[in-house]
Amino acid sequence: MISIHPTNTPTTSSSILEVSELCVTFQVRGTEAVRAVDGVSFTVRPGETLGVVGESGSGKSVTSLAILGLLPKRGVKVSGSIRLDGKELLDAPEKELQAIRGRRAAMVFQDPMTSLNPVLTIGRQITEVLLRHKVCTMADAPQRAADLLDRVGIPEPRRRLGNYPHQLSGGMRQRVMIAMALACEPAVLIADEPTTALDVTIQAQVLELLKELVAGSDTALVLITHDLGVVAGMCNRVHVMYNGRIVESGERHVLFAHPRHHYTRGLLGSVPRLDMVGSALTPIPGSPRDTIAWSEGCSFAPRCGAVTETCLGAAPSLEPTEEGCLVRCVNPATHEQSLWGGR
């Protein structure tokens, strides 16, 4: 399996985050080993927004946890390479990782209702990260925290510092999470399904907020989601993951215009579109459980409408397409077939 960068990446920009051949295997005693992430490679440049799309079980969340070193130690094997600004993270000692987390790389989690400590005030939870990374003095910390709350759009920030999480709504709590993550101005911000647990109306607001906050700064945003709608509005480049591997990747508008992998096409096909009123939605048949191991062929084969004999036997590798994307498929849709928007 070759790891190739998208050919349209200007070779002059250096990446802030380089993930190379990342493999994460879970092994609980007595059961089979599960390869949640199976040879994933990608890079992120400063200031860009990267989207990672996939269903649950595709390995996208595990990838993000692996980057920050938040996977449990027991029963988990991680191999490959993760370099943040040139520094290798995978074999770094815990003390160094602790200095990096929250400071150079930060994360926003999915469920704001459970991701905040219920017995500490909001202010404390923000100042705690400021003080730990020595970003400011103890005297300045409350003001900095209030400024952060203001930046993420929370009204009356000074008063809110003394509030407890249960006194805030879901949307506000997620804003607090974002404030905590950006407190030390990290180089990379990973957002793992940041809006999935929120009401639809709040979702748009929070995404707008994220977009605003990283615009014009060097902070790279890695947006992990199962929702293509989220990706469409926000990301420069997109990776589509299936069963632990990247199956398609490329620049956002190119990918959306010409999805070549049948899984990506399936994902797009199951999204309702305003300009196609009246036509039926085509969901992807089967479920994520109807899968075969990559060692036996293409994992998506059981659900793929275009499956051929060559799809079984060995895993396809990532190959470049004429539009400049990468696709992992021996029988992808042709350029003409893949044109989206003209069905």
Binding site: Q98, S115, L116, N117, V119, L120, E128, H133, H166
Partner: protein, 334 residues
Amino acid sequence: MFKFILRRLLLLIPILLGLSFLLFVWVRALPGGPATALLGERATPERIAEVNRLYGFDQPVLEQYLRYLSRIIRFDFGQSITLRRDVTEEMLRRFPATIELSAAAMVFAVGVGVPLGFVAAKRERTWVDNGAVIASLVGVSVPVFFLAQILKMVFAERLGWLPSIGRLEPVRELQAHTNFNLIDSLIEFDRGAFVDTVKHLLLPGLALGTIPLAIIARITRASVMEVLNEDYVRTARAKGMSRRVVNRRHVLRNALLPIVTVVGLQTGLLLSGAVLTERVFAWGGIGGLIGGAVLDKDYPVIQGGVMFIAVVFVLVNLVVDVLYAVIDPRIRVH
């Protein structure tokens, strides 16, 4: 917060009323009636009739109850049949001994139990954890009076390392100010007495505290294990907080809630276990008094003792409730 405490204190009243009612009924359930409760079984019929008249036991029940209530409120439980002393006075004299013993046992149980449970939770499925689970199950199964006897047998009688009975060596004289020997010896600057008190506290405290220790360790382990899986612990780690800070500020503070509840409940176990332990070590507290009273059929003492201990138990649980609200801000809203 103040309103919270006040409201909880008010809730105490129906419980105490209910308790007094139960005891009222209880006394009248005795063979021979309430007069026997005051005089003992060997009372002559004349004495009984006299007492009935005196205390109004031949009056309508409601009147009796009200009179009884007025006595209880003034903490008047009558006279001990065997000791011929005022029950309340005797209780107050002996109470500090039981408190001292219970407090020592609780300090032991919490001081060892919580760290033990914490370590077991962090090292789930290792031998430390499995050992702790088994040890705590064994700890819960040991009868406290057996443990007390074994400890006494081994450490006091066989090895002679520690004294076997009493709170102080009989030859020692300690001026009784508060009846808390630890405090009194400090007041008197009597270092020898202090050390001696501690030596006497060790075995009974160990015996009494072992079962609560087992339970506290178990609940700590369960609670910490649950908290370790919570999302906010992951958030704290993702912020780069050091392990020690995560443990203290995020894990422990949230795990504390059920632990505090259990500690409150365990004081009940301590207070009742004191009855047994004090018997073995001839401790001289309320427990021993009640234990003896049961056989002597000294009903005023039993009545007074039960009421006393119940009040303490309820008050301790009130403190636990308040602590709960202090630890968990979500509870304060009510």
